[in-house]
């Protein structure tokens, strides 16, 4: 295998140094370090982060290859600085058997652009009626550890309790899509002033908060791990804060779009802003930023949800919910969360702040631990698998829907200028992205 020297890189924003990668691992980190025959990569001033890990990606394959494939989705991931993505189970057929999760796993391995870690469905066909073969998926080649009916809530409390208990046997975790379905029938957007004015059926915050409250209590009761997908409300943050203070083993993710966008965007009736859970209010955005900064919300996960043009260029109520996220997640997080001093003043002003180490913790290390991905989420250091990404913190990029690697175009950020540009990504020592371009 070939060798690379990344010169002048700043690991987690620290002083410039040189990183030598040989045979898939970081061989040496020191100024002036080198290796015979190594390809030299000018990383002068770029910030080196451990390769990003996404706990929540919809790759749409099998079933909706017109919207995304494992290959196109993992290319978008690599361009976004990701080296591992967890593929949600709501494919067609649903990833509720060892066969389907192994298929997705192999498609990811063949594409070779990111580690694709399948998530298994909790219930057969996501129907919420009986448990899928969770153990078989755990024992499969895909070694599934996260189980989720995402897109649907495991709303039956008894079934949820059983799922939480059952996966303890193989250190699994249930990732709950917290949405009480009886409170969100026909829901189109956050229930509040904007839904009242726009005449769109409301999705009340309590529908999320009630499930989170119930599930942290269930997790406590049975001593299980629980992960909450895409937390979107200030109330959810308060429940999570309480649960964590109580020692309940719960982790939570927030999406980039819930850190930046609000329900006011629905005024255009452009379904590119339709997502589930819906965009919330300014107060929710502020609470989520603060929670991500103080660790009540553990990680950023994209909920990358590609949809075809036909599913988005239509009337709002007929459109499918979801937004692209992989290629814009890091810039949005840098924009909303990174201390502006680290970005030449390019971020949004506000109290909730992270440094580069905080970004690495929430977008790489912690998600890797939650997903049980041993080779990922480790800072570049000798002997560590070379999964890393190089970011230019001085760059400003205007999002162009036409330049997205995903098969779909439903980015809510088109036209926005965001800080940070992923220059290179290395997956197990091989470049998947160089000079901002995918290598395969």
């Amino acid at each position: 295998m070939s060798s690379f020297v990344l010169t002048g890189a700043r690991i987690l924003g620290a002083a410039k140094t040189d990183i030598v990668i040989t045979d898939g691992v970081v061989a040496e980190v020191a100024p002036g370090a080198s290796a015979p025959g190594a390809t030299r990569i000018d990383a002068d001033g770029l910030v080196a982060l451990p390769g990003l890990v996404d706990l929540h990606t919809h790759l749409r394959e099998p079933g909706r290859e017109d919207a995304e494939t494992v290959e196109s989705g993992s290319r978008a991931a690599a361009l976004g600085g990701y080296t591992a993505v967890c593929a949600m189970a709501n494919t067609d057929p649903v990833a509720d058997t060892a066969g389907v999760v192994e298929q997705v796993y192999r498609l990811g391995r063949d594409a070779g652009l990111a580690h694709v870690q399948p998530i298994g469905a909790v219930t057969v066909g996501l129907a919420g009626e009986r448990l899928a073969e969770l153990g078989a998926m755990a024992d499969s080649a895909a070694a599934v550890r996260i189980f989720s009916d995402d897109g649907h809530c495991v709303s039956d409390p008894r079934l949820m309790r059983r799922a939480l208990e059952y996966v303890k046997a193989f250190d699994g975790v249930i990732a709950q899509h917290a949405e009480e379905p009886r409170l969100t029938a026909g829901a189109q957007m956050h229930e509040g002033e904007w839904s009242a004015r726009l005449g769109l059926t409301g999705w009340p915050a309590v529908a999320e908060e009630a499930i989170i409250a119930r599930d942290v209590l269930l997790a406590e009761h049975v001593g299980a791990r629980l992960h909450i997908c895409h937390v979107s409300t200030a109330g959810s943050v308060e429940i999570l804060r309480w649960a964590k203070a109580r020692g309940i083993r719960v982790t939570a993710e927030v999406t980039p779009h819930h850190l930046l966008l609000t329900d006011a965007l629905a005024e255009s009736y452009d379904p590119v802003f339709k997502v589930n859970p819906p965009l919330r209010t300014d107060a929710d955005v502020a609470a989520l930023r603060a929670a991500l900064a103080d660790g009540v919300v553990d990680v950023v996960a994209t909920d990358h949800a590609p949809h075809t043009v036909e599913d988005k260029e239509c009337e709002w109520p007929y459109a499918r919910p979801g937004m692209l996220g992989l290629q814009t997640a890091l810039p949005v997080v840098l924009h909303t969360m990174l201390d502006p001093a680290l970005l030449d003043g390019g971020g949004e002003p506000g109290p909730a702040r992270l440094d580069w180490d905080g970004v690495a913790e929430r977008m790489s290390r912690r998600p890797a631990r939650i997903a049980g991905l041993a080779g990922h989420g480790r800072d570049p250091a000798p002997g560590v698998p070379a999964n890393l990404t190089l970011v230019d913190p001085a760059a400003r990029v205007t999002v162009d829907g036409g330049e997205i690697a995903s098969r779909s175009r439903n980015t809510p950020y088109a036209g926005r200028t965001l800080p940070g540009r992923v220059v290179a990504t290395f997956l197990a020592g091989a470049p998947t992205v160089l000079d901002g371009k995918a290598q395969r």
Partner: protein, 304 residues
């Protein structure tokens, strides 16, 4: 001067007043032997109706024809609309046909806003989902002004299913713009969360409001709401929120009773009240044509 009519919020006070004043002139045409003006000769108005509404569609059709526009009715039945053609493709078709204005009725809130992005002509919202119905609000305001002389300071109660009512949304916005004082009266289940931000008052008690109004507008309540636990039974709804003879008797003498139609007689309004002299229900229909003539003229009567 004006491109589309998508929401009553798009009308500021002077523009809204201009529409009503223009409608007053248009109304004189209805009294003539020749009920036709040459004004929009050569212009094409498309009625794009995804929901059945003979009443509204006919009103727009008469309005457009009285102004000599060509009218094309593009209804969900017997067209590509029912064959699942997307709104965008339909929009491009209408565009190719040279539609100067598209009047759209759609069950999805916001469909007119989407359409307005895809066609060059003017888009008129003729009712979208549970969002708005601005020409209904204009004809209601016109009716109030003709009956009571002014809108400034007028006390208007809008009673019923506000949550699902596009008529209520447009009326609250337009009447507030024109200086009227609106009170929404409804069981709490049929008011939207977020109604507190609207420019109106809210009450759960019809009897407390009735003695002190100039206009009471009854909204249609669909019996199906009962099955969704918005209220326990049609009987209980009628008892608490229906305008029966006894309640109507407590209205101030000059107060008028309005209903956008179609009515559920015996549910939200008693037949005796609907047929009484203070009811404006038939006038509202006639005024609808004048107001829609005014809207079409103001949208299409100048340089495009």
């Amino acid at each position: 001067m004006i491109t589309h009519l998508l929401s009553a919020a798009d009308l500021d006070r002077s523009t809204a007043t201009l529409v009503l004043d223009t409608a007053t002139e248009m109304a004189t045409v209805a009294g003539r032997e020749v009920k036709k003006l040459p004004t929009l000769r050569g212009r094409t108005v498309v009625n794009l109706f995804y929901e059945d509404s003979t009443r509204t569609r006919t009103s727009f059709e008469v309005a457009a024809k009285r102004l000599s526009a060509d009218v094309i009715n593009f209804s969900a039945k017997g067209s590509s609309v029912s064959k699942g053609e997307s709104l965008k493709d339909t929009a491009l078709t209408l565009q190719a046909m040279g539609a100067d204005a598209v009047v759209i009725r759609h069950s999805a809130s916001g469909a007119p806003h989407r359409l307005a992005r895809w066609v060059d002509g003017s888009v008129v919202n003729a009712g979208d989902g549970t969002h708005e119905h601005p020409t209904q609000a204009l004809l209601d305001a016109y009716t109030m002004r003709s009956r009571l002389g002014t809108l400034e300071g007028l006390r208007v109660a809008i009673v019923g299913d506000v949550l699902h009512s596009r008529v209520a949304r447009s009326n609250v916005l337009l009447l507030a713009t024109l200086g009227a004082k609106v009170t929404l009266v409804s069981p709490p289940t049929l008011l939207p969360v977020g109604v507190g931000a609207w420019p109106c008052a809210v009450s759960y008690d019809l009897d407390a409001v009735l003695g002190d109004v100039d206009v009471v507008m009854m909204l249609r309540v669909q019996r199906e709401r009962m099955n969704d636990s918005y209220f326990p039974s049609a009987r209980e709804y009628a008892r608490r929120y229906g305008l029966d003879v006894a309640r109507a008797a407590r209205l101030p003498e000059h107060a008028i009773v309005m209903h956008p139609g179609p009515m559920n007689r015996g549910m939200e309004i008693a037949p005796e009240v609907a047929d009484s002299a203070r009811a404006t229900i038939v006038e509202q229909v006639a005024n609808g044509v004048s107001v829609r003539m005014a809207v079409l003229y103001l949208l299409l009567g100048g340089k495009s």
